[in-house]
Amino acid sequence: MVTYSTLELGLNTESAKRILEIAYKVGAFLRGEFTLSSGRKSDHYFDGKRITLSPEGGYWVGKAVFDELAEIDVDAIGGLAIGADPIVSAVALVSHLEGKPIPSFIVRDIPKEHGTKRKIEGHLKEGSRVAIVDDVITTGGSVLRAIEAVEAVNCKVVKVIVLVDRHEGGSDRLKKEGYDFTNILHLWPSGEVTIDESSAVPGEIKAGALPP
C-alpha cells in the first residue's frame, strides 16, 4: 500500500500528477459517444466523481485546490451540486487539517420545489470573498450558474478552480469575463489528457492517452 505523509507535497504539479494517476486507476476517462450536459456530443467523457469520491482522489483534489488558494484571501469555497460537492468537502477537511479553515457551501442547480427556496446551502455570508470549484468545465454553464448564485448575495468570486478543463470554450469565457481561472488537468478535444497546457498538441491523440 502506498502511504503519503500528511500534506508533504506543496506543489500543485505534484498533486496534479498524482490526481492524473488516480484518474486512470479509477477509470475516470471513458471512451464512447456521449451527450454532454450542454448538449454537445463528445467521443470521450470525464467522470470527475470517480476521482473526487475515491478516498485518495478526494484527498489529492482537496489538497491541490487548498494549495491553490494558499495565497488568496477567501472566506468560503463552494460550487454547483453535484460535481462540486465532494470537492468543497475535501477542501474544507484539508483546510481544517492545515489549520486554515475554509468554510464551504453548495449551490443547488435548481431552487427547492418546496420550503425555503434557498439556492445556497452551507456557510456563505453575504459579501464574502469566495472561490468557486467544479469537477469539469465544458462550456462554463455550470460554473457560471454557481457564480450567478453567489453574486446574487453580494459575494465576490476571487477564484475559480476546476479539476478538468475540457477546452470547449468554458475557461475562455470565464477569463474573458474577468474571473481568475485555474484548472488541475486538461482534457483536450483530441482526447489527450495533460497536466501542463504547453505539453498539449491539439489534434494529436497519444496512444494510451485514454484507458480502453
Binding site: G32, E33, F34, L36, S37, S38, G39, Y45, D47
Partner: protein, 107 residues
Amino acid sequence: MTNLQQFRERLRQGLYLHNLYEMAQLCKTLALDTIHPVPFFVMEHIFLDIARHWEDKPLPVEEAKLVESKMIKPLEELVEGIEANASSEEAFNLLNRVVSAYLISFV
C-alpha cells in the same frame, strides 16, 4: 418571444441536461400563467425526472436519441394542441401520449 415560443424553441433543441432544466423552469412559469396548468405542471415534472435520470452520469448519445425519438413528437403535438386551444378532452389525450412516452422510456 413569449414563454411558449421560448419553450417550443427549447424543445426543438432536444433533450439534454441543461435544456431539461430550462424547459422545466419555463413549464413552471407557464403553469402559473394559465387557467389550465395541468399539461405544463406534468411536463415540468417529467423534464425534472429525466434530468434526475441523466444527472451526473455518462449519457450515451444512443440513449439520448432513443428517448428523444419517443418523446419529442408527443411533446410537440401537446404544445401545438395548447396553442390551438384544444378542448380539454383533446388536451388530455395529447398529455396521455406524452406521459405514455415517458413511461415507456424510463419506467
